[in-house]
């Protein structure tokens, strides 16, 4: 079973995503802030990371940096309400994230993208 880590401070959104991904048979872990996020990257050892950019304590970029160092092969999907032209998002692309999904989004679409990454 593939393991997916979701780092997102909006409980509602992350729960919806979690619900959807569980339906597809993935094992998921939900954390709500950056510190928990980096910890979970090591302990949970996910096959995919879905992260928001604006989260408490650490921003998404730091998470990506950390994941790149600790788990260079784990793909990352960035979920954000910031536009694609925002500097921070561009930075994320530079760090080689697998996908970027702007909010508002459709959880079904997210599920399809996840499936595509694992294929």
């Amino acid at each position: 079973m593939k393991k997916i880590l979701i780092i997102e401070d909006d409980l509602l959104i992350s729960s919806l995503v979690q619900f959807r991904l569980k339906k597809d048979g993935y094992e998921t872990l939900l954390v709500q802030d950056g510190n928990e996020g980096t910890k979970a990257i090591d302990s949970f050892n996910p096959d995919l990371i879905i992260t928001d950019v604006m989260i408490p304590f650490k921003n998404g970029i730091e998470i990506i940096h950390y994941a790149r160092k600790s788990k260079p092969d784990t793909p990352i999907i960035v979920l954000s309400s910031l536009g694609e032209e925002e500097k921070i998002v561009l930075e994320a692309f530079n760090l080689g994230v697998a996908d970027f999904i702007p909010k508002p989004f459709n959880p079904n679409e997210l599920a399809i993208r996840v499936k595509r990454i694992f294929r």
């Binding site: 509602l12 959807r20 989004f105």
Partner: protein, 515 residues
């Protein structure tokens, strides 16, 4: 307090009334400061044993009157003369020394009177004996009104003031602290409750959203809904409040069919009724919340009520009402904005622009209705919209009304021309360049750089020759440079104005092109 403004008068009543009571008083005092007691012999033929009395020790004074020695204590003085006084024949008369000055009885009384009034002497405390002595003693106590003791606290205005301030302060402090504690407790309670509700909502809501189609949601019966959410909860005010917030926040972050499903759920849970009821509230923030919810959830049925709020005196209510109206009404009608009597703030303009821009993609919007807006801010906004939306089709109308509007509106129209790049209006621009209103001239000069003609350049040179301020020179030169480079170069090369050279260097510096 008034009753005792001068307390010294309180001891006005003397404790003696005649010589007998006076002596009684002296006896009770035993000693009076600086007063000494003695006798003098008034009998022309004093007896020998009187003259030889060793305790009285008479001596003749310079007037030839026999004076006894002086006593400080009343009792010793009295006992020394007692046996002679008791004799029927008057042999002795009391005499006094006040500050060593010989004085008679009346002088002594005056002296003691004074001491009493100045409160220098008091009645010695002693256990009153029973009987008439008590009455005498009672007579001796000066009269004082009883309430002096009772109201002494109030008699001191400073103490009164300080205490009342402290009291006021304490009461206020306690009230405020209690109020704050109450608020904090209530809000933390509500918060905790909402957290629980939130966790209860997430699961069923996800299920509904993923498992059911929009149609299925619309056909849910009450009983089916209660399978997802317990009936008891769904009737609770707080639960509904949390549900509203969650659905709206999800609606903002979701796309596609999820949005429709959320809206269907909103109505299924009868949350729309709550939102619409909010419009009747007295608090502006509640009304505005209602408006936001109506706007987010497309509650078209509330539009008539929203319409009524568009001319509210509260800025937030009216701007959200209009925004809602723009968003939800079938045929986007700007008449509500046109009729606004309140001036449009920039904040409102920004909100309306966002909505209009969004709607503009789907429908044509009659911006020209705003050209006849009730107040100037609305007309200015309309001219701005022409430029921002690139409505070239409205330029003809604009050009017709432009010469007849006020200078401020002319400036806005000039900016619009500049923004879209309207090259057919140079006559109007040149006319504005000749205006007396310097603000209009500046706007025209700036516009002429983009959309002027050869005539504009000549007018600008004329204006430059009038030696305007540094700022104006810069604007004029900049426009000439854009209009006609050779004319610009010729003008600059023939001028020896130091400022002009500076500006020339500035305008030609490639680094400063974007400033």
């Amino acid at each position: 307090m008034v009753f005792c403004a001068n307390p010294s008068f309180a001891q006005d009543n003397l404790p003696y009334t005649d010589s007998t009571t006076f002596f009684k008083f002296l006896e009770s005092k035993e000693e009076i400061p600086s007063l000494k007691f003695r006798y003098k012999i008034t009998n022309p033929n004093p007896s020998n044993d009187l003259l030889n009395d060793s305790t009285l020790n008479f001596e003749k004074d310079e007037l030839g009157i026999y004076q006894s020695q002086a006593f400080e204590k009343f009792s010793s003085w009295y006992s020394a003369g007692e046996k002679y006084l008791l004799k029927e024949e008057v042999m002795l008369t009391p005499d006094f020394l006040i500050y060593e000055e010989p004085s008679n009885l009346s002088a002594a009384r005056d002296y003691v009177d004074n001491l009493w009034r100045n409160k220098d002497i008091f009645i010695n405390e002693k256990k009153p004996e029973v009987g008439d002595v008590l009455v005498i003693l009672a007579n001796m106590v000066p009269y004082e009104p009883m309430f002096k003791y009772r109201f002494q606290f109030f008699s001191d205005y400073k103490l009164l003031l300080v205490t009342s301030i402290i009291g006021f302060f304490l009461i206020m402090a306690i009230v405020m602290i209690l109020y704050m504690i109450f608020i904090k407790m209530r809000s933390s309670k509500v918060e905790a409750k909402e957290k629980i509700y939130e966790s209860q909502i997430i699961g069923p809501l996800s299920e509904l959203l993923f498992e059911k189609t929009e149609e299925e949601i619309n056909n849910l019966s009450d009983a089916e809904i209660f399978e997802f959410f317990p009936e008891k909860d769904l009737r609770g005010k707080h639960f509904k409040h949390v549900l509203i917030n969650k659905i709206i926040s999800l609606n903002k972050k979701m796309k596609g069919d999820f949005k429709d499903k959320l809206k269907a759920l909103y109505k299924k849970f009868k949350l729309d009724e709550i939102s619409i009821k909010k419009l009747k509230s007295k608090r502006w923030d509640v009304i505005t919340t209602g408006l936001v919810q109506i706007n987010e959830m497309d509650l078209v049925e509330a539009l008539p009520q929203v319409q009524e709020l568009t001319d509210s005196s509260n800025f937030y209510i009216r701007s959200h009402a209009i925004a809602t109206l723009l968003n939800l009404s079938e045929n986007v009608d700007l008449k509500t904005i046109k009729k606004q009597s309140f001036p449009l703030s920039r904040w409102q303009q920004m909100n309306y622009l966002r909505i209009i821009k969004y709607l503009h993609i789907q429908k044509t919007i009659q911006i020209e209705t705003l050209f006849e807006g009730e107040n100037q801010t609305i007309r200015l906004f309309a001219y701005k919209l022409v430029g921002l939306l690139g409505r070239v089709d409205l330029l003809e109308k604009l050009s017709k009304l432009a010469p007849n509007v006020s200078d401020i509106e002319k400036i806005e129209i000039l900016k619009t021309y500049q923004m879209i790049g309207v090259h057919t209006e140079s006559t109007f621009i040149n006319k504005c360049l000749r205006s007396d209103n310097i603000n209009l001239v500046v706007a025209a000069a700036k516009a002429s750089g983009q959309v002027g003609d050869q005539a504009s350049a000549f007018i600008l040179i004329e204006l430059l020759n009038e030696n305007p301020s540094f700022n104006l020179k810069m604007i004029y030169l900049d426009s000439i440079l854009r209009l006609d480079k050779s004319m610009y170069q010729q003008f600059v090369s023939t001028s020896n104005d130091k400022e002009l050279n500076q500006i020339n260097a500035h305008l030609l510096d490639p680094l400063l092109q974007h400033v």
